[in-house]
Amino acid sequence: MNRVRAFAACAIIGLSLAIILPGCDNSPQASAATSPGSGSSPTNSVPNPTAGTTTPTDASANSPATETSADEYVVGHYASMTGSEATFGKSTDDGIKLAIEEINAAGGVKGKKFRLITYDDQGKGQEAATAVTRLITRDKVVAVLGEVASSRSIAGGQVAQQNGVPMITPSSTNASVTEIGDMISRVCFIDPFQGFVCAKFVRDNLKLSTAATLYDRTQAYSAGLNDDFKKAFTELGGKIVTEQAYAGGDADFSAQLTNIRDKNPDVIFIPGYYTEAGNIAMQVRKLGLKSVLIGGDGWDSAKLAEIGGQAIEGAYYSNHYSDEEQRPAVQDFVKKYKEKYGAVPDGLAALGYDAMRLLADAMTRAKSTSGKDLAEAINSTKDFAGVTGVITIDAERNARKPAVILKMQGGRPRYAATIQPK
């Protein structure tokens, strides 16, 4: 009986902890390490709608409930910080944090500093929608950044659009994300462009003419990219000899690859994620196929070389940026990122960094920080010099920018070419 009581006590303590802890969830869990209010100008010309009080001078003092003080901008980020795509969320978050640190060090925007709130969505659409709702209605963010996966960007984007808060997605490449409405924009290129880039590289740079594709039918990203590559490749005078599909999580691709071997294509286009791409490369070489392998930005991970080993050598993939580009913006970013996190930033970190800096840039231009004005400023961005290229937001709120092609050499991706938009 005593033991049962002890257990019950444990449970009660645990539960009450769980209920008390969120009481202090006003403190930002994953915010950039800056103290608000240190460099703020008392005469702030921009009325901050997030404070929602008539007296902006002492709004910070008497609004402890919303935790939105008048001398800082709160930016929300939702990402899969846990789950199978946690590395994507973590990289993006690191990039955003670095950008915020930099902007705050330079005095912020219009005298106000930024504070970041990051929420985990566990890689689930429902969680993403809830997280964005919370960011907007409870944390009163000026803008939302997120997600990597397109389906979750759509779930979160609908909430942002409905509430009239701008959202910039750093790395969702599916075309339908920005079709939600005028509040949603992005800093990455879209899948049709990536398909075009790969096709153009194969036709113009490699001068090869037959291709087979092997895509993941359970991933919207992979299936979409496959269609776009096929279309662009055929338009550029190439020939698709066969098209094979697998399901995400498969480990054996010999049936599909045997079919491909019969056609002996010059190139095999594999628009999946790095986990499968590495495996596929191994099995391609085992079957004695000599075709060039090419993929999309889903390959962008240090794990690719670990999984693929020797087999992945000489393969190409399109990406948002290369850390070997000699542009000062790139070298500067890589240096700072290495200093802070001790690792070479991947494309997602660069995109997160660009998304945050583009947002800050738009805020300096915006008439006010109301959702409408801010979205207008974001959507009229022209020739913004980002790490991932010079970004112009077009009429469909997509980013017009170049893409780079990387080549796997000596176990790491090396810069191979830059492909400009049409």
């Binding site: 202090c24 809830t130 907007i136 339908s176 039918r217 919207a220």
Partner: protein, 382 residues
């Protein structure tokens, strides 16, 4: 034989009285739903409103799974499969239906389906859109129930682990089929030109079915949740419910007592699948999209956890577990990365303290009664 049948008919009230007998309960549910939607929703704001809707949807799913896993003691882990199926049917009905009827898939509902309406009673309570939405949910439920029948009939002759594997397989088949479906047709002219059967395969593939008009509100989640609770409760009290419970306690003994075990199990399965399908409809119209990839067997486990934590066969237990397990992760947002660890730890602690679930096989009120007796003396003992 004939006499026995006549007698049993005499004992049980005629079927047509099912509505009048439950009228009071239905009216109460409806009143609560309207009151919550009219006054509580505007007061708590969007975020709490959304969490409360999540709770309602999870109650529908957890309580319906209780009928199979709890009452009947079968172990189904394919509940998310029925939810997905119903959700896709409902989403496709409202999306393609709105396109055909009104040439665009926007919101055409009344104030009961609007999360933004300032005052609920100033304009029409129902519009054309929400009738389509309810029809879609019911159709989704019916198709899920049909699938439940087809899956249940052969597989419910199996027991324990074997049934779990079959239901798991069913859920995965639904997921893979939907992910392999064609792209969603978005242009109104294209939709009108196609015949309805072609549209049944245009379900969005790997991206999921998107652009679903949003109709789910607290009103609908409470109404559907309330009806699910009512059906589960009446079922448990009925002779059929007793038959289901007897299967859980001892299948051989139940069979010996004349319970048609397979038939009863299939019935429980069909009822559970129906409500799961309706819950899927609510889910799709809350999120504005439904993605089969996210509703795999991990989602089924969420509901199994709710049922086990609540206590096998306890309706109030499953309800409480659905509330706790939906609200807890939101409360734990404060601990950021450690959220899921704390969540899992709490689950472990709860299972150690009460391995039989929160309420065991009993209901909340059955536990409270002896407690109050002990507290206020044993006057009621006689």
């Amino acid at each position: 034989m004939l006499r026995m049948k006549a007698r049993s008919l005499e004992l049980s009230p005629p079927a047509w009285t099912i509505l009048p007998r439950n009228l009071l309960a239905l009216v109460v549910i409806l009143a609560i739903a309207i009151m919550m939607h009219a006054w509580v929703r505007p007061a708590v704001g969007n975020y709490y409103n959304r969490v409360m809707m999540d709770v309602g949807i999870n109650i529908v799913l957890a309580v319906s799974l209780t009928i199979v896993n709890g009452f009947t003691g079968q172990f189904s882990i394919g509940h998310a499969g029925f939810m997905t199926l119903g959700g896709y049917v409902a989403a496709a009905t409202t999306y393609y239906g709105s396109q055909l009827l009104w040439s665009k898939a926007a919101f055409f509902g009344g104030t009961l389906s609007s999360n933004t309406a300032e005052s609920v009673f100033s304009a029409g309570l129902l519009g054309g859109g929400d009738l389509l939405f309810v029809a879609g949910c019911v159709l989704g439920g019916c198709i899920a129930a049909g699938a439940g029948y087809v899956v249940g009939l052969p597989s419910l002759r199996l027991r324990g682990d074997y049934l779990a594997i079959v239901t798991l397989g069913f859920g995965e088949i639904i997921r893979v089929l939907l992910q392999a479906s064609g792209p969603q047709v978005t242009r109104t002219a294209d939709i009108a030109a196609k015949n309805p059967f072609e549209l049944t395969t245009a379900l969005g593939g790997a991206l999921g079915f998107t652009r679903v008009p949003i109709y789910t509100t607290q009103f609908w989640t409470i109404l559907f949740g309330g009806v699910t609770l009512l059906v589960a409760y009446r079922l448990k009290q009925s002779s059929m419910g007793r038959a289901l419970l007897s299967i859980r306690e001892d299948e051989v003994a139940a069979e010996a007592m004349g319970v048609k075990t397979t038939r009863m199990k299939v019935l429980a399965f069909v009822i559970a699948a129906f409500f799961a399908g309706m819950g899927g409809g609510l889910y799709a119209h809350q999120l504005g999209q439904i993605n089969a990839g996210e509703l795999g067997f991990m989602k089924s486990f969420d509901f199994v956890i709710m049922v086990v934590l609540g206590g096998m066969g306890s309706i109030s237990g499953a309800t409480l577990a659905a509330i706790v397990l939906t609200v807890l992760p939101e409360l734990l947002r404060g601990v950021a990365e450690y959220r899921m660890i704390v969540y899992a730890l709490l689950l472990i602690v709860m299972m150690l303290v009460r391995p039989q679930g929160l309420f065991g096989v009993r209901e909340a009120w059955e536990l409270i009664r002896p407690l109050t007796r002990r507290m206020f003396g044993s006057g009621a003992k006689a």
